[in-house]
Amino acid sequence: MTLAARTARREFLSGVGDTVPLIIGAIPFGIIFGALAVTSGLSPVAAIGMSLFVFAGSSQFIGVNLFAAGAAFPVIILTTFVVNLRHALYAATLAPHVRHLPQRWLVPLGYWLTDETFVIVAKRYDEDDDATHKHWYYLGSALSMYLNWQVCTLIGIVAGGSIENPGRWGLDFAMIVTFTGMIIPAIKTRPALVSVVVAAATAVIANPLPNKLGLIVAALCGVAAGVIAENAQPKPEVQPHE
């Protein structure tokens, strides 16, 4: 093996290794998605198809919930767009690091970008070494998340078909606890707190809106509140040199 191939391999494997804790967190999430999807009326093939082609856990959860509630397809697709809009931020953050790569890299890396892989990979790109194979690290993280998601969806589809009344277990709480674990440590500034509180309050007030439109309204209000709060903050004063 050439030196370059060995370096690529090492980056790939450490990308897989560093993603393991988040893979463990995604396991219940994926299984529950598979079970929920088939109990909400999606065919088993479509359930795994959604994991294969959409590959965005939270929007898949919300998508099958809306599907079960009989929401119109354009509404489900619009909700998916708003919920996944956060990936645009991840993509924009990683863009300067991956821009030099050819399309055959950019397409799969973009396609496989998730919350978990972003958190892991952004940390690796921030490390101040001149390693040239960090995209292999990204690939290792992304691919292991993707494969795990497919396997867990399959397990869930099988389990969902055999468990009587899976809703009784309340396993949809897995999504709530996962997002709680992701969101709380991210609230580091006052505008972020304002954004979260406004989004949460709006979501509860707007809950009676049909088709879960309250989610979109709440997200937009939360973003607007965050921006307004940030712009209203006094700018940090520049200390003059003595």
Partner: protein
């Protein structure tokens, strides 16, 4: 209705917020305002998903009582996340507490 049409639509909009952004940043002048707003999208969206999930578990009526296991376990999870900042620990303790609490209340 064709469920594949739905999957196709969801896949297209999801890919559209990932890949093209990676391609265009640095090539097109994107306003700083846009990035400022985008930074608030993840916390706002996640909060808008989880808080009604805790407070309105049946999707219809607000339940702020201690027998609402989603709310109680959600608060416990939030405290664990706040004190430790550890995602895996939050998931394990939160989910474990949730199941035990439901068992005690006879909800399982």
């Amino acid at each position: 209705m064709n469920e594949w049409l739905l999957i196709f639509g969801m896949a297209v909009v999801t890919f559209a917020v990932r890949y093209p952004v990676m391609l265009l940043v640095g090539k097109l002048p994107l306003p700083e305002r846009l990035f400022q707003a985008l930074r608030y999208v993840p916390p706002a969206v996640l909060a808008a998903i989880i808080v009604p999930g805790m407070l309105i578990p049946d999707g219809q009526t607000i339940d702020a009582s201690p027998t609402n296991s989603y709310l109680v376990a959600g608060i416990v999870s939030a405290i664990v996340a706040w004190r430790t900042g550890n995602l895996l620990l939050t998931i394990v303790l939160g989910m474990g507490f949730f199941l035990v609490y439901r068992l005690i209340l006879g909800q399982i």
